[in-house]
Structures are given as C-alpha cells and as structure tokens.
Subunit: 202 residues, 2 copies
DNA sequence: TGATTTATGTATCGAATGATACAGAAAGGA
DNA sequence: TCCTTTCTGTATCATTCGATACATAAATCA
C-alpha cells in the first residue's frame, strides 16, 4: 500500500487545474505541450508519466472542468422548483460563469475543438458527446416540467432543449468576443422571453 | 497591360474556393499548408506567389465566403418588408446554409478560430470583427423597424440584436455537432417565439 | 531570335510539434 | 547498507509546421 519510489515533487491536482486553464483558454489543438509544461511547471517526462499523452491530459482536464466550473451551471437546473425558474437560473449561471474575470471567457466544452477531421478526432468526439449530453439534461428537466403539469404535454421538449442548448453554445462565442456580463445576462433574459410561447399548449 | 511572363496554369478563383472549403471545414489553425496545396492542386511556391502567406490566403477565402455563402443569409435581412419577417427569414436562411449537404456545416466566421492568444491573433481579430459587424447589421434592421413604427421605441435594439446574433453563433456549433436541417429550423422558429415580447412596449 | 518577365517543380530551410531515452536522484523494503 | 522502485532533468528523437532558394519552363517584348 505504501508508495514505493521517489515521491512526486508537484501537486497533481494543482497541475491539472493549470492544464485545464490553458486548454480552456487556447483550445485543444492550439495548446502545445510546451505551453502545458510551462503552465504546470513540470518537465515533459513528468507530465507524460502522470497524465499520459495530450489527449488523455485533456480528458482529465475536462473532467476537472465539469466537476468545478460546470457544476454551478447545471446545479441551477435541478435546484429550482419550477422548470421555468430552472432554465432562467441555468442561463443566468451560464452568463455569470462565461464572464468570470479570473477565468477564460466562454465554455471549455463549447470552444475546445470544433473541427472533426484532424488527428484530434477523438477529443472532438469527446466534446461533442458532452454537448449532446447537456442538451439531454435540458430535455429531461423539461419533461419533468411536463409531468408536473407546468409545461403543456403538447410542447416539443426536444425542440425547446435544442434551442436553449444552442443559445448557451452561442453565448460562449459571444463571451469570447468580449461581451460584458450585462450583455450576456441580457441575452439570457431574451431567451427566456420565448418560454411562454414554447411551453404553452398549441 | 498585357501580362508578361509565363501564365498561370490554374484557375485562381477555383483554387481560392477550394481553399475556402478547407478552411471552413477544419478551421484556420488546424489547416496546414500541405492541406491547402493538396486541395488547391498547386505547389507551395505558386500558392505563396498568388495569395501571400497563410493569413492572407485565409482573409481572401473569407472574402469569398462572405460574397458567396453569407450573401444569401444577409440578403434575407434586407429583402423582407417587416423586421419580424426579416429576422425570421434571416434565421431560416441560416438554418438552410448551415445544413447544406455539399458544404461544411456551420459558419466559417463563427468556427474559424476562437482562441485569441496564439500566432493567429490577427486572423482571430478578423473573424471577431466580422461577428461584431454582423450583430451591427441586425441592430440596424431593428432600428429601421423602430422608425417604421413596427417595433416599440422602448425596445432595446442592441439587446435584441445580441440575442439573435448569439443564437446564430450557437447554430454553428449545433450544426457542426450534426443537427438536422429540421432541428436547426426548429431552433430558428423557437428564437422567433421571443420576438413579440422583445419588441413590444414595456 | 535574344532578352525579360513571371510561374512552376523539386528540394529544402529553420523552428516547432508531440513524445522518449537515458542517467541520476530520492524514497521504501530487506 | 544495498536493492528495487519511482520520479526528475537534460537532451533529443522523428515528424510536421509555414515558408523559400534555386533552376527550369513558358509566355511577351524588342
């Protein structure tokens, strides 16, 4: 049980968090191993021994991202009592997270890598899976609202979920372009203006 | 006036269009000069002589993109009589363009490059400028609607423009993830469900 | 025809890429 | 103390990156 050999001289979690920030800011492909070793302040062999190759490190960094940053956004979806409030909070938390002054703007999942035909195909698929998974979470909350009688049974939950997922994706780009927190909140507010029409019986 | 020297053996416009497709599909950074020379079917020296460096070629390809693909989307904004119809058409044309089976999915401007701190900073700024410019076009159409009495003078045109620009940005990512034309049209439809609330007097 | 100009094809440049070989250092186990 | 195990630092691997040098080919001009 006791660990043999020379112990690590760096904090693995702290190094991973730094790697996450670099990937988040520059995207997967634009981030070089030199960028990572510099930010993590470890040598290349230590990096490969601890985290595997570049794709493995990205996957680990993504897991940290989902556990630390994404959690607040998606918790909002389940905390609120009504579906409407859940989506409003979800979008507001998104605006807040995407405009944080001490982290890269926008979402690591949305901006990590978007082109699927390079050698980063597996990483691209990983992010695509995350994005589709998020849309599924939105749809599940909507269906819960239907069961609660809050949303009309005739409402197209898939359509509504896709719409709000698309808005969130767009907010990443808008945030990366320098939009203010107020502007992002305003966009979140505008998206909620469609709620009544989308969830009413037709 | 008459051109001296050995004439070109390739069609410059056709080569540029092929370069545009590669950039559009893979993004700026993920596209290598080898990819471009292969697609354009010309040697590297011919490429550099005709189009300058990689950033110059991308700028030229972007210009072609805006003139050929983007035109249909943005023409919809000015053709329609009412602002509401203009935005509805704008979104529907976006859905159509982003789901074309014979071209890369999504928008070259939205997906070209999103990370700003690499050596591609000038290209990133170029695309950012295009995106902000597009939002300005949306706002101008809204203000026209205000002057026509269609939209309440109390409406926040900047907010509404940012919202629809964000939706369009998001549609690029959703389209790249494989959304069907029907799904994109459905999202466009959902975005228009917010129109009345956004443009009504408050 | 000879001179000039421009484009093409081959071959390659230095730098950066992701990833390792290797030797030495620092711990536990016997 | 000696052996095994694991990690660290240097130095470097082969490959790919964007970009060119150079010689040759093909056109116009005089």
């Amino acid at each position: 049980m006791s660990q043999r050999g020379r112990p690590r001289t760096f904090d693995s979690d702290a190094a991973l968090r730094r790697a996450m920030l670099v990937f988040w800011e520059k995207g997967y492909e634009a981030t070089s191993m030199a960028d990572l070793t510099a930010a993590m302040q470890i040598g290349a062999p230590s990096l490969y021994a601890a985290f595997g190759n570049k794709a493995d490190l990205f996957a680990a960094a993504l897991k940290t991202y989902k556990a630390e940053i994404g959690l607040e956004i998606w918790n909002a979806l389940s905390k609120a009592v009504t579906a409407r409030q859940a989506f409003a909070d979800f979008l507001q938390q998104t605006a807040l997270a995407y405009a944080q002054p001490d982290t890269p703007r926008g979402c690591m999942i949305a901006l990590g890598v978007l082109n699927g035909d390079t050698d980063a195909v597996s990483t691209c698929e990983l992010l695509r899976h995350c994005r589709l998974e998020n849309a599924t979470l939105l749809r599940a909350r909507l269906e819960e609202g239907v069961r609660d009688g809050e949303i009309a049974p005739t409402a197209d939950c898939q359509k509504i979920a896709d719409f709000y997922a698309t808005v969130q994706h767009g907010m990443s780009i808008t945030a990366r372009d320098g939009a203010t927190l107020a502007s992002l909140q305003s966009t979140a507010d505008a998206a909620m203006a469609a709620w009544d029409a989308l969830t009413a019986p037709r």
